[in-house]
Symmetry: C2
Amino acid sequence: MAKPRASIGSHRNPESHAAILDAAAALLAEHGYAGVTFEAVARRAGAGKPTLYRWWPNKAALLIEVYEREKVAMEAARPTLPDPQEDFADLVRAVMDFWRDSPAGQAFRSIIAEAQADPAALAALRDDFLPRTREVPRAILARAVAAGRIAPTTDLGLIIDLVFGFAWYRLLTHRLTPTQAEILGVVGAAFAAAAPGGPLASTTAPVSAAPPTPPPGR
Amino acid sequence: MAKPRASIGSHRNPESHAAILDAAAALLAEHGYAGVTFEAVARRAGAGKPTLYRWWPNKAALLIEVYEREKVAMEAARPTLPDPQEDFADLVRAVMDFWRDSPAGQAFRSIIAEAQADPAALAALRDDFLPRTREVPRAILARAVAAGRIAPTTDLGLIIDLVFGFAWYRLLTHRLTPTQAEILGVVGAAFAAAAPGGPLASTTAPVSAAPPTPPPGR
DNA sequence: AGATAATCGAAACGATCCGTTCCGTTTAGA
DNA sequence: TCTAAACGGAACGGATCGTTTCGATTATCT
């Protein structure tokens, strides 16, 4: 935005790098997803378009970097609670707060949206970004298994799908103000169902109320 | 694409209407969301751009109509099962099958994506389309309440958020092949938690494992 | 020390799509 | 018979895209 920033030799210029991420985040916050164009980012960052295209193949890649840069502080700030269920609920709360109170929510929404149009963005989201993100909740669930709170036969990925599916749904429909009771209810439901003997305790075994009779039709 | 299609007087031409929806669906299936432009749809449908702009304010509105046109057959084909929990699980299965096996999934993904960029599309999705869609599962849950399977104090919207959040999450990450056990597990978890005495039975009351102490930080 | 190579920002390009506007034609309803 | 609305065709100014060329800068290799 100010002083000229020339090449620093045959190496990537970290100032340009930071200026570009700053500009992208600012544009996202001010004008939304549609306002973030490579053209506008380059203009605002005082950078050249070739510089952007050199380092980021598409808008999704740029937004992922914006999101991850902001996410570090959030994850570090959250203390680990001793009880796995409380810790899991607090993680969900922290993530939804983060989405609501920082530009990250808009960034994350945009990443998901772009993945629906661009196969490359989808691959980056599903095969790279998401598995990394799911490690934190998975570790908490593994602690719950070790503590005997969750049956060892439970598919932990399914629990994450259930709880973070809820969070995504609220994010994408702009309803990011869950009450404490709602979060505790959702996480409580997941933990109760995954407890030994619950309907989520085993991936393969049938559920009492609905025998494995294949439903009619189709 | 074929014969010329002139005005039929001062009334909307249903042939043009159908041709435009057909063209949009075809383009969506062949070239994805980015391939659906008003320009391309008009070209393929043999229609004029003013005709499109006359009837649809934006791409989201057009895609919503494409989606809803295909959805009718799906909902009509599904029989109502006597047991509410089985019926709910079958609905989830039918919806995910529908998303996977018809162009509707791509259309729905695109609608959600566009809502993240365009406030008008978000309003249409959240305030118009979604409430209509949620009526069917809500009616099933109401039956479960009447049957005493779900506590009357339960927030039925939260159950829908939970189960269809799961479905959306799978849709948006292109993992639309749930096993029967997964669906039964998710729905079973929701119903068990919403049963009288379960963690979802009341929206306001605290949950046993985690008293309403506000979590630290933030 | 000097040559190499990769970086930087600026500018311009052809192409595409947007959203709108005008136009002449057609036909249902008043 | 006449009005009003819908139809498709064509063109517009504007924005963004993704790429290319350019001269200048400077760390790294020879």
